[in-house]
Symmetry: C2
Subunit: 107 residues, 2 copies
DNA sequence: ATATTATTTGACTATATTCTCAAATAGAGG
DNA sequence: CCTCTATTTGAGAATATAGTCAAATAATAT
């Protein structure tokens, strides 16, 4: 495989890797409607600020979020709207699979 | 956050985590058109069989691939067609970003 | 300047992932 | 049964990631 393509795969993989953590997915879902500041995210997701801040920085490096400062607070925005679609799609598939399993058990 | 939702996030995150590796993305791209056996994948992606086999098993556990045995060979199929869409979308966005950067440099 | 609030960073430990090699399994054919 | 080919598995080392605590920064107000 050409090294040009490997570079491309690596960049793409980073986006998915960044989405591959429950806390980070929760953040992405939360930013679907509108920007939130770190403290709001901490309040909703429920781990400490330091941890959330690190997850936010991973999402930002991957290009999934952007941030802007406003006074003391930092607001994060979803920069990759299709991240929401991915999340929805995977959610639906998991639901389908669980239902299929249940149907199998019930039969 | 309710623990019901945490479970859901964890399941979804596993799918993205599985996609978060260049070799595994290469495999997904390769299976877009039709099923391939392990030896074909090894030939195309270019690492050793043992390593590919492990990546395949990760993709299978995440529900992204299914496999079927035929003689000596094992053929892998894409079970999650939207994985291809994700990959395309992220690829486009990365391209856009690179072009924007280039435009910025050129101005 | 000091204090206060919001967020980031650094150091550290624990845990998970990746790769590699050798060995094991599994099916096909002689 | 033996051999060959295709694939999986296990053990080990190297590396990466996650979480936690304390300390640092940054903006604002007193």
């Amino acid at each position: 495989m050409p090294s040009r393509q490997r570079e491309k795969l690596k960049l793409k993989a980073e986006v998915f890797k960044a989405m591959g953590h429950p806390i980070r997915l929760a953040i992405i879902e939360m930013l679907g409607k509108e920007e939130k500041c770190v403290c709001e995210i901490v309040g909703h997701v429920g781990t400490d600020t330091s941890n959330i801040s690190k997850h936010l920085s991973i999402l930002k490096s991957a290009g999934i979020l952007t941030d802007r400062k406003k006074g003391l607070k930092v607001y994060y925005n979803l920069a990759l709207p299709c991240a929401l679609d991915f999340n929805r799609c995977v959610g639906n598939i998991i639901l389908e699979r669980l239902e299929a399993q249940r149907a199998l058990m019930a039969s």
